[in-house]
């Protein structure tokens, strides 16, 4: 806010003096010619006019007005009227009484007015400081905090120019419609020495911003009248704003480090669990076979079968881990071939017998389902991930259903479980790497569910590499359905083209 009324220019003062004299002359004309009154009434009327002038404009105007009023009073009302001479000595007293009263009263009223204006200014300063403190509290720490602070200061105080020198980064931030006249050296000096520089002509300040004895930076501000205490409060607010941002930054860095540690240990736990499960069966079997009291011959064979199965499982895990790493690194080489979906699913379930256990599984595929062109190994891995998820996230005795349908030139395969489902808020994140969905009903972490949080990320990457799409549908409490849509293979001629296109796409990689 511009406080022009406090320091009016010379022209404005001349205008106000002229106004004051004009009022006195008009009053004289009215009292002497229009409604003739006696000398006492005229004296009081002048007094009132001068008091009003003092209240509106100030002491200079009122004093000049007083002199004019005394002259007019003498000329028009004190006998002999029409001259500046005074016959009766009593009238001298009346004349000086008018002059003295009007000057003293003017002084008093000007002082009151000045105090009122000052109080108003203080109040305004307080309001501005309050507004600034609020906006500093609400600063978005995701963006540059010092930049926001200077903008807020310039905006709140309607300053012509604001600069903020950040001592830690030695950066300078500017805001406002005018160029700040001070140099960066002055700012640096103010910050390190804690000095204050004032330029009363331009109404410019440079002041140190400190927190306790710690230099935080310095603030330059132009075109604003601020009391010393307001300026002090302003720099304190700026210091607090900058420090708060720094503290938040440090805290979020610490939090990020903690989360990454947590992630690493969860991931290691999950990997340890995945690999140690088949190893447990293998170790238990081999040690049973090697023990001093070997098992009966028919049991021996059973142990060896277990070892064989679990060795395969382990080998599958290793190749999945390698595929995962390849997808991660962006080296996916698709070996595309025309594949029948029912056959693909059958082969998936054949490899997952030990995981699916004695779960009821429904597979529904129509007879005339068109084939798809996919990398068999990759696509099998994708469905293994989806079925593995369905098994993990639903109770052991609930069924898992897999269906495939033709829809608008696509084959859509759905893997459905009857588990607790996924909360709507989690939907966008479940395909993210390492993300583990929370229980939708209790909101509890499901970290004890084995897995690394990679399955769905792999599935998405593989499906995307095939140009297909993958999504999930869920009703919390009723289960989840994961859907994969793949282009159906085109008839022979078109199919050749597709294979050529796919080969070309592959060659580009």
């Amino acid at each position: 806010m511009n406080r022009g009324h406090r320091r009016p220019g010379a022209g404005r003062i001349a205008l106000q003096i002229a106004g004051m004299i004009a009022i006195i002359l008009a009053l004289t004309f009215a009292l002497a010619r229009i409604v003739p009154v006696n000398a006492t009434t005229a004296g009081f009327a002048y007094l009132v006019a001068i008091l009003l002038g003092a209240t509106w404009w100030g002491l200079v105007e009122a004093t000049i007005g007083s002199v004019a009023a005394v002259l007019c009073f003498n000329y028009f009302f004190l006998p002999p009227v029409g001259t500046f001479t005074i016959a009766d000595p009593q009238n001298w007293i009346a004349l000086f009484a008018l002059l003295a009263t009007s000057i003293i009263a003017s002084r008093l009223s000007t002082r009151v007015r000045k105090q009122a204006v000052e109080a108003q200014d203080r109040q305004q300063e307080m309001e501005q400081l309050y507004a600034l403190s609020r906006s500093i509290l609400l600063i978005d720490s995701a963006q540059s905090v010092p930049r926001q602070v200077v903008n807020q200061v310039a905006q709140t105080f309607e300053a012509a120019a604001v600069v903020l020198y950040d001592h830690r980064t030695t950066e300078v931030f500017r805001s406002g419609r005018e160029e700040f006249p001070g140099t960066e050296d002055q700012l640096r000096q103010a910050a390190s020495l804690g000095t204050q520089i004032r330029e009363p002509v331009d109404r410019c300040w440079i002041t140190a911003v400190r927190l306790g004895t710690q230099p935080v930076g310095s603030l330059g501000i132009c075109g604003v009248d601020l009391s010393d205490s307001a300026l002090q409060s302003l720099t304190n607010l700026v210091a607090i704003g900058l420090e708060r941002a720094r503290a938040q930054e440090a805290a979020s860095r610490a939090e990020a480090a903690r989360q990454s540690d947590e992630l690493k240990s969860t991931l290691l736990d999950a990997i340890a669990h995945e690999f140690k499960t088949p190893l447990t069966t293998i170790k238990a079997s081999t040690t049973a076979l090697l023990s001093d009291k070997p098992p009966k011959p028919e049991q021996q064979r059973e142990y060896i079968v277990l070892v064989d199965e679990e060795a395969d499982r382990l080998s599958g895990l290793v190749s999945e881990a390698i595929q995962m790493a390849r997808i991660e690194a962006g080296h996916v080489r698709l070996q595309l071939e025309e594949t029948s979906v029912p056959e693909l699913l059958e082969s998936v379930f054949a490899k997952m017998r030990s995981v699916v256990d004695d779960r009821p599984v429904e597979i529904k595929t129509p007879q005339d389902l068109p084939p798809v062109v996919v990398d068999r190994e990759m696509m099998e891995m994708t469905f293994r991930q989806l079925i593995d998820n369905a098994v993990k996230y639903s109770p052991p005795d609930t069924p898992i259903s897999v269906t495939a349908d033709e829809e608008d030139g696509h084959v859509v395969i759905r893997v459905q479980d009857r588990g607790r489902g996924i909360a709507a808020a989690e939907m966008p994140r479940i395909f993210e790497k390492f993300y583990r969905a929370k229980d939708p009903l209790s909101n509890a972490s499901r970290n004890q569910i084995p897995g690394a949080g990679l399955g769905l990320a792999i599935a998405r990457a593989v499906v995307a590499a095939h140009g297909g799409s993958i999504w999930a549908e869920s009703k919390p409490g009723e289960g989840s359905t994961f859907c994969v849509a793949l282009d159906e293979a085109r008839p022979a001629t078109a199919r050749t083209e597709a294979v050529v296109n796919a080969a070309r796409a592959e060659a580009k990689k």
């Binding site: 140690k276 499960t277 170790k283 238990a284 049973a288 995981v355």
Partner: protein
């Protein structure tokens, strides 16, 4: 002939298969559960002597299952876990497990742990006292019962054996190794954390203020001592 009934709780069917084969080959009768919830239901339905409980399961994990089962059963519990840190061991014991075994394990080791868990510390040859009355605590060695303030307490078999060994050897600092071998068996001796957890649980059950024990005292660097009040001295 069955030498004990064991419930296997693990979500992995292959692990259940291999453990079942090993245990039935040894002569145990075996039941299976695929989750913590199933295990709880099975234990409420029929009698078992011991449970092999996997820590890492979908749904209610092993930790919660262990606590839930301890609320109604004194069954011996051996926890199976892939983690091997001190903290994991202590939290498993704290949840009420009697012992734990780290995956992958060898079959003879599993069998040894099961034997140790099912083993009851033998009563002293001369029989010892049949009962003991302390201030507010009554121990019936024959019926394997403890009454605190007239109310019967649930002590797991291992807790009871530990208490009995301490009470039978009053006012003597018993070394950790001796206690572990007396209660868990000759293969044990270095598992000081077992004693720490079990003594803590016993103090919680029989001491008026577990933080300032008057009976079950720690002998720093040595072991534990049962302080028999003077009036009770034989």
């Amino acid at each position: 002939m069955s030498i004990g009934r064991i419930l296997i709780v693990d979500d992995d069917p292959q692990i259940r298969r291999v453990m079942k084969m090993t245990l039935t080959g040894e002569g145990y009768e075996v039941g299976e559960a695929r989750s913590g919830e199933e295990a709880e239901a099975e234990l409420r339905k029929s009698q078992y002597d011991l449970m092999l409980l996997d820590m890492n399961m979908p749904g209610q994990g092993g930790f919660e299952t262990c606590k839930a089962i301890r609320a109604f059963s004194d069954i011996s519990i051996i926890v199976l876990t892939v983690r091997n840190t001190e903290r994991d061991k202590v939290s498993a014991l704290d949840a009420g497990a009697d012992d734990f075994i780290t995956k992958p394990f060898s079959s003879p080791e599993l069998l040894a742990r099961i034997r140790a868990a099912l083993r009851r510390a033998p009563a002293p040859p001369e029989g010892g006292p049949r009962q003991m009355k302390l201030e507010g605590v009554e121990i019936d060695f024959q019926a394997r019962k403890v009454l605190v303030g007239g109310e019967q307490l649930h002590l797991t078999p291992k807790e009871f054996d530990l208490l009995r060994y301490l009470v039978m050897n009053p006012n003597r600092a018993i070394p950790h190794r001796e206690l572990l071998q007396a209660v868990w068996g000759p293969d044990y001796g270095d598992q000081v954390e077992y004693l720490r957890v079990f003594i803590k649980q016993l103090r919680r059950k029989i001491e008026a203020s577990p933080d300032k024990p008057v009976y079950l005292l720690t002998e720093p660097w040595v072991g534990y001592r049962f302080a028999l009040p003077v009036s009770q001295e034989r």
